[in-house]
């Protein structure tokens, strides 16, 4: 059902983890529909993404798109990171089954949410970036338990 690239990223996900005192952090999705993605960004003074980590609760496609998306933004400037769209992630994985395409949407949203967090904290404007819609925030997650 999945391409070799998807399976590779699922089996050996890149950049799993957390970043202490991250420049930006974003969480999107919700547990109800079964997909949550969190992205941590470490961004230097030149607005270059030095490091990126992710954590994902979700299906094979969700894990693989998170992994691929982190690889694609690493080393890029924040403006370049805006070009990592769900379509680009999907293509880099040689495609996803039609029912799983919404998972790649989450990867793009997670990056945007982390960038938004960074931009807000540092009072920086990133062209084309809008306030994330589905950031669930930690307060809401706590209620689940």
């Amino acid at each position: 059902m999945y391409t070799e690239k998807v399976m590779d990223h699922f089996e050996h996900p890149r950049n799993v983890g957390e970043i202490e005192n991250a420049s930006g952090m974003g969480t999107v999705g919700n547990a109800k529909c079964g997909d949550i993605m969190r992205i941590y960004l470490d961004i230097d003074d030149n607005q270059i993404i030095q490091d990126v980590k992710f954590k994902t609760f979700g299906c094979g496609a969700a894990v693989a798109t998170s992994s691929m998306a982190t690889e694609m933004v690493k080393g890029k400037s924040v403006q370049e990171a805006m070009e990592v769209t769900n379509k680009a992630v999907c293509e880099a994985l040689d495609g996803l089954p039609p029912v799983k395409v919404h998972c790649s949407l989450l990867a793009e949203e997670a990056i945007h949410a982390a960038l938004w967090d960074y931009a807000t904290k540092h009072d920086i404007k990133i062209e084309g970036l809008e306030k994330p819609k589905s950031d669930i925030g930690e307060e809401e997650v706590e209620e689940e338990y």
């Binding site: 529909c33 079964g34 997909d35 609760f57 094979g60 969700a62 029912v99």
Partner: protein, 394 residues
């Protein structure tokens, strides 16, 4: 191929070699149409009749009350739609449960669109329907109660005898989808007051594409598949002779070995459940611990998602299934897990393993180790787990 530990016997089973052997002559030697007049086709006709007798005998039913179909879904569709039509002048109300198989639930939705009124009974946290709720749901226009014998996801066996008694007392027809139970637990249609019963061949080591509907004599039922006069004019179409022969053989073997098989499976099931519960934290067992199919195990692992778990188990040669949204093909997790009261995020982390008597304790050990490793890996990647642990630390 790598080693295979097949733990998805509620999805389908391996056809037994004895079953295949019994079927083979009816492909190449005795291929006659049972409806034909010559002596040669009489061999096929007798084989169909012999199977019918074996099946009827296993249920305490009469031979002419067994109607062969293409499988469990057809039987469920037939039982509901034909009864609804035949009894519509008496009433248009049907009672079923929220945890039925989609073959029943989607048929009920179909009937709703055609003017029937359906009550979907709740279940308790174990997945058992509540008898007092059933009694309260009965109305003067109730024509049918359809409750599954045992649930396909969580293995809970419903209080069928009590339901049958309530139905009989109120003179309402009682249908049960016994696809998961037939051949696994003893069933007697008279003792349980069952008027119609659906079953399938491939769930009991028989072939796919064959099932039957038991219809008690006297129940008004209409033909569902129209055409020739097969199955006493109630189910048209040339008989699936090989399938029927294989089904008969599978039933014969299932009934003869039921006690021994149930004992073995229960032992393995308890061993697997106990080890996992002891060794994997934040885990629960779904379904009844007491009234449960001998081969059904259903866990929910908190903080992880079922499809990821299934793919990783598959990499280790283990076949299972899950009620997560991603595996159900919708955005919602399994309706059964939601009906027993699981929150969405926990229902997404469910794993169903359905055993067979051929499985071994060594295989269970391998499965437990695999589950421990995979669950730990997925939790280390899970933002839900990260939040939970962080919260614990505060």
């Amino acid at each position: 191929m790598k080693q295979l530990i097949y733990l998805d016997n509620a999805a389908t089973t391996k056809t037994r070699p004895e079953v295949v052997e019994a079927m083979l002559p009816y492909f190449t030697e005795y291929y006659g149409n049972p409806s034909s007049v010559y002596e040669f086709s009489g061999i096929s006709k007798k084989a169909v009749q012999d199977s019918r007798e074996i099946i009827a005998g296993s249920l305490g039913a009469k031979t002419n009350e067994i109607y062969f179909t293409a499988g469990g879904s057809e039987s469920d569709n037939w039982a509901l739609i034909a009864t609804a039509e035949a009894y519509a002048d008496k009433g248009k109300h049907i009672i079923t449960s929220k945890i039925e198989h989609h073959a029943v639930l989607h048929t009920c939705e179909y009937l709703e669109k055609r003017g029937f009124d359906i009550t979907y009974l709740n279940v308790d946290e174990n997945g058992s329907i509540k008898l007092d709720e059933l009694k309260k749901a009965i109305r003067p226009d109730t024509i049918l109660i359809s409750i599954m014998f045992a649930n396909n996801e969580i293995g809970t066996i419903e209080p069928i005898k009590e339901i049958g008694e309530i139905a009989k007392e109120h003179k309402i027809l009682f249908h049960t989808d016994a696809v998961q139970a037939f051949g696994h637990v003893p069933i007697n249609v008279d003792e349980y007051h069952i008027d119609m019963l659906s079953a399938s061949g491939h769930k009991i080591n028989g072939p796919k594409g064959i099932g039957f509907l038991y219809i008690r004599t006297g129940v008004k039922s209409r033909s569902f598949i129209h055409g020739g006069g097969q199955e006493r004019k109630r189910r048209a179409g040339t008989e699936n002779v090989t399938g029927i022969v294989g089904f008969g053989k599978a039933v014969e073997l299932a009934v003869a070995g039921m006690e021994e098989r149930t004992r073995k499976e229960t032992e393995l099931r308890e061993y697997l459940m106990e080890r996992v519960m002891k060794e994997v934290p934040y885990t629960r067992i779904n379904g009844s611990r007491k009234s449960r199919l001998s081969n059904n195990v259903n866990f929910a692992f908190q903080f992880i998602e079922g499809e990821s778990l299934l793919i990783m188990l598959d990499m280790k040669g283990i076949c299972g299934s899950s009620g997560s949204a991603c595996t159900s093909g919708s955005l919602d997790p399994s309706h059964v897990l939601l009906a027993i009261g699981l929150p969405h995020e926990i229902a997404h982390g469910s794993l169903r393993l359905t055993l067979d008597e051929v499985n071994t304790r060594e295989e269970m050990d391998y499965v437990v180790e695999a589950i421990k490793e995979i669950v730990a890996k997925l939790r280390s990647m899970s933002p839900l787990y990260e939040d939970y642990i962080r919260h614990q630390g505060n």
